[in-house]
Amino acid sequence: MLLLIAKRLAAVVVILLALTAVLFLLQHISPADPVKTMLGPGASQELVAQTRRELGLDDPISVQYVHYVGHLLHGDLGTSYRTRRPVGTDLATFLPATLELTLFALVLALVLAVALAVATTLNWPGAGAFRLVLLVGAAMPAFLLAIGGIILFYKQLGWLPATGRTDILDAPAGPTGLLTVDSILHARPDVFVDALRHLLLPGLAIAIGPAVSIGRVLRSSLVTTQRTDYTRTARAKGLTEVQVMRRHVLRNSVGPALSMTGLQVGLMFAGVLVVELIFAWPGLGQYTAQSIPVGDYPAIAGVMLLLGGAYVVINTVVDLLQAAADPRIEA
């Protein structure tokens, strides 16, 4: 297990190095000039040249890269050209909102996936309709789902809010930055409910696609597991169907679904960035969207490093969970 974690840490380093390298290459090719953005259209030629020099943008790209990685090793992600603040500070500001939305969507996806898989495997009444709704949802891209959700639940029905994280002005702002958690810590049930209502639409828009992918994998392994000899043994012991499902079938079926979850998390990050724009969610998606047009490379790189690292961490957790679920797998 320690070996696995060590291997994954090494993988994180390699992946992050590769990511930054690609980003530097893109920066080299891209026509956007960050200095022009920083100084505004009226800046003099000399000032532009001087700033370029100060920022090190005149150096060969390889030298810039080495500098960047050098700073990275000291935990310095650079300074945003746009906000003029350290990228690390920016990330810390915008991350909690995105983290809350992603985690909420992940939990939602898992709940929906398990419900879909179990309901269709055991042929519960209404399982067909449930499956149809999810399938139609999954067939649509997240942004379309988001817009559709706003039109239906906000504009037409007025059930759910369409923008931001909360409408309550004096909502607590610490210590975790996750509004649902902070509201509980500050004993503010009104904020908690409001935060959940705000999370629901964007969360669903992100979760439905992954939910169907995970659910289908889980369903097919549930069906396979139900036909195994040991399930027959469990039935021959005289266990109830619920006991058979809970003790023997579920645990032996989660492996493939966990792998799928790990893969889907990567896609969910992409979904989050788009959906945040639609719902005016003050998270990394907004931050990235504003950084890209102006060529704010340190900011973009910071977001990419964060998401890349998170992806590897989540997949490591998935591997550890698989090993925990199946004693035959050596972690």
């Binding site: 070996l3 000899d229 012991k237 005289g238 032996n252």
Partner: protein, 675 residues
């Protein structure tokens, strides 16, 4: 429903029945085809008896066991009629809850493969406790089924146990709660022969201790003969014959039973003629015949048989011996008389071309080690072959016999070039590469290719004597000839593996191996997945191909009866080493190595209670020091465990006066004088 009615049934033990099946019909719909699996079956299981249910695959014996357990698979849309009464409950019509309660209180089940029948992610203790009700009871049961150090085993996962221990765990779960009936469906088929003897003895002992009845389902008459009080022979979903074990096996009264007995290989089967086979195959379950299902294969068939469905009726003079046959019993008795067939195989010695110099294959000092995962991220070394040497003469047939983990298949794969080896030499005499036939013919044929494609593939690399590739027409001709040689109709050329029966697939595998005749044919348990009658035809085919084409055959099997019939010489392997090598008939007649003796004694046969070899084959991950067999050997002394000891295979000189002339017996034992 609580335990009360069950107790009542268990209370009716004296002369009572624990299960009664009346006029049972079970049909399924599989991929749109209606299949009649059980067709009007009557069966009584008496209190505290072991009833052996014998039948080939497709005879409906497993369907019957599932019906008894009330576990007919919903997904196959079973259609049932009749009554299956277990502990006073009809398992066909009772509600799922009631059936479940009967399973819990009155039934136990042991299935074929203990690896797949235990939940791989749940500890043994919990799995047994689920059936036993408590951890203490689970511990008591594990001890009762003879699991060493049961306290420690409670926390083991199934994959940490050997096959024999796993099956003991299954049996512990089956007898939990003192059931009235234990249904054991092929409980020893997946086990090694020495372990099989232990498990059969355990089943019988538990019957005596617990007082439950056991329905022992098996395809092997020999297994039924060992432990069953009564034997029922099933054919095409009906009982063909049922009666006390000695009566049925000594004086069978149904032509099918007679046929089964005669096609069964034993250690005394005649070698020089083709093995007796049951002509034809089992009937198509989707189109049942109006009359007796065995009629198309029956040597005694009469006009009547094709129209009238015979019911089991008492045989003359035996109230307890029922048979479902219209033919006069005296004619069946005649049928059981010694064979009249005169077709004798050409002598293998002729085919062996004794004057020819050189060897077909030579293996000398070969070692093969696999690196496997061994828990907690560590890698372990599995010594599959440990300094194995073997010469195979042209045209000769050598059987390699051993239990699982003995390295016999690895040796074959090394010869075929499918595995590399670390040390030693493999020399092949001929100009052609050896060809291999695998155990599971279905899985070894690519499912989306036609038989023609498969054969063609092999022929494409073939050159004409003058050089140059074969033309399409020639290849087609050669393929057709190969199919004819293995006794398949030409139409098979365009069929895919899924459209063929098990026996046909194994024939296709053989056709592929010999479409370009190799010098050495390697067979890895080609008959062990087949029914008795099919196995016999495949063995005959291997023999006749060998004689026609002059190939040497290396035949891996765990079954000494098979080895004796197919081979000129037998090599016995244990944990990666050859322990005995000698003339096939002589080695069976007078085994020398203690392991060979134990292996022979464990072969199930009629009226023989095998002396049991203690323990199970050790793991090849950590073979015992010195002679690997010493922990199980009755002759072992402390010297045998010496880590520095290396026991080579040596010509047996001491006690050689007991050996027949020309028997160049080689044995790996440090005390040859005592053998």
């Amino acid at each position: 429903m609580t335990a009360a009615p069950v107790r009542a049934a268990a209370g009716a033990v004296s002369g009572g029945l624990v299960a009664e099946v009346t006029n049972l019909h079970v049909g399924f719909t599989r991929s749109g085809r209606r299949i009649e699996a059980v067709r009007g079956l009557d069966l009584e299981i008496r209190a505290a008896e072991v009833l052996g249910l014998v039948g080939e695959s497709g005879s409906g014996k497993s369907v019957l066991s599932l019906a008894l357990l009330g576990l007919l698979p919903e997904s196959s849309q079973p259609r049932t009629s009749g009554v299956v009464r277990v502990a006073g409950t009809d398992m066909l019509t009772a509600s799922p809850q009631v059936r479940r309660q009967v399973r819990k209180d009155a039934l136990g089940a042991v299935f074929q493969d203990p690896m797949t029948s235990l939940n791989p992610t749940m500890r043994i203790g919990r799995q047994v406790a689920e059936a036993a009700g408590s951890g203490t009871e689970a511990l008591r049961l594990l001890r009762a089924v003879g699991i060493p150090e049961p306290e420690r085993r409670l926390d083991s996962f199934p994959h940490e146990l050997s096959g024999g221990l796993r099956q003991r765990v299954m049996i512990a779960m089956a007898v939990a709660g003192d059931p009235a009936l234990v249904v054991a469906d092929e409980p020893t088929t997946a086990l090694d022969v020495t372990v099989q003897a232990q498990v059969l003895a355990l089943l019988r002992r538990l019957r005596d201790d617990v007082g439950c009845s056991v329905l022992l389902i098996t395809h092997d008459l020999g297994v039924a003969a060992q432990v069953a009080d009564r034997v029922a022979v099933m054919y095409a979903g009906r009982i063909a014959e049922i009666g006390p074990t000695p009566t049925v096996l000594r004086a069978p009264m149904h032509p099918y039973t007679t046929g089964l007995m005669r096609s069964r290989l034993s250690l005394t089967t005649e070698r020089d003629r083709p093995v007796e086979t049951l002509e034809g195959g089992p009937p198509d379950p989707s189109a049942p015949l109006p009359g007796c299902a065995y009629a198309p294969r029956c040597p005694l068939v009469m006009e009547e048989c094709r129209e009238v469905l015979p019911d089991p009726e008492p045989a003359v003079g035996h109230d307890d011996h029922l048979r479902a046959c219209l033919a006069d019993s005296s004619r069946v008795v005649e049928l059981a008389a010694p064979p009249r067939r005169a077709d004798v195989l050409p002598s293998p010695r002729e085919a062996a071309r004794p004057g020819e110099p050189g060897l077909a294959a030579r293996v000398s000092g070969v070692e093969k080690t696999f690196r496997v995962r061994a828990g907690r991220g560590r890698k372990a070394r599995l010594a599959a072959l440990r300094r194995v040497s073997l010469d195979v003469r042209p045209g000769e047939s050598v059987a390699i016999v051993g239990e699982s983990g003995s390295g016999k298949s690895t040796l074959l794969r090394v010869l075929a070039g499918l595995e590399t080896h670390e040390r030693g030499d493999v020399t092949l005499g001929g100009s052609t590469r050896p060809q291999m036939v695998f155990q599971d013919a279905g899985a070894s044929l690519t499912p989306w290719l036609t038989v023609g494609d498969l054969l063609d593939e092999r022929l494409r690399t073939e050159r004409r004597p003058g050089g140059g590739k074969l033309q399409k027409g020639e290849r087609r001709q050669r393929a057709a000839a190969a199919l004819e040689r293995v006794g398949l109709p030409a139409a098979v050329y365009d069929a895919r593996a899924s459209e063929l029966s098990g026996g046909q697939r194994q024939r296709v595998a053989l056709a592929r191996a010999v479409v370009v005749p190799p010098d050495v044919l390697l067979c890895d348990e080609p008959t062990s997945a087949l029914d008795v009658s099919l196995a016999a035809t495949v063995l005959n085919l291997v023999q006749s191909l060998r004689h026609e084409l002059g190939m040497a055959v290396l035949f891996v099997t765990h079954d000494l009866s098979v080895a004796r019939v197919v081979a000129d010489r037998i090599a016995v392997m244990y944990l990666g080493r050859l322990v005995e090598l000698g003339d096939a008939v002589e080695l069976i007649r007078a085994p020398k190595h203690p392991y060979t003796k134990a292996l022979l004694a464990a072969v199930p046969d009629f009226g023989v209670a095998p002396p049991q070899l203690k323990g199970e084959p050790a793991s090849p991950l950590s073979p015992p020091t010195g002679c690997a067999f010493h922990p199980r050997c009755p002759l072992a002394t402390p010297d045998c465990a010496d880590p520095g000891l290396d026991v080579p295979l040596e010509r047996l000189r001491h006690g050689a006066e007991l050996l027949a002339d020309g028997d160049e017996r080689r044995v790996a034992c440090i005390r040859p004088k005592e053998l």
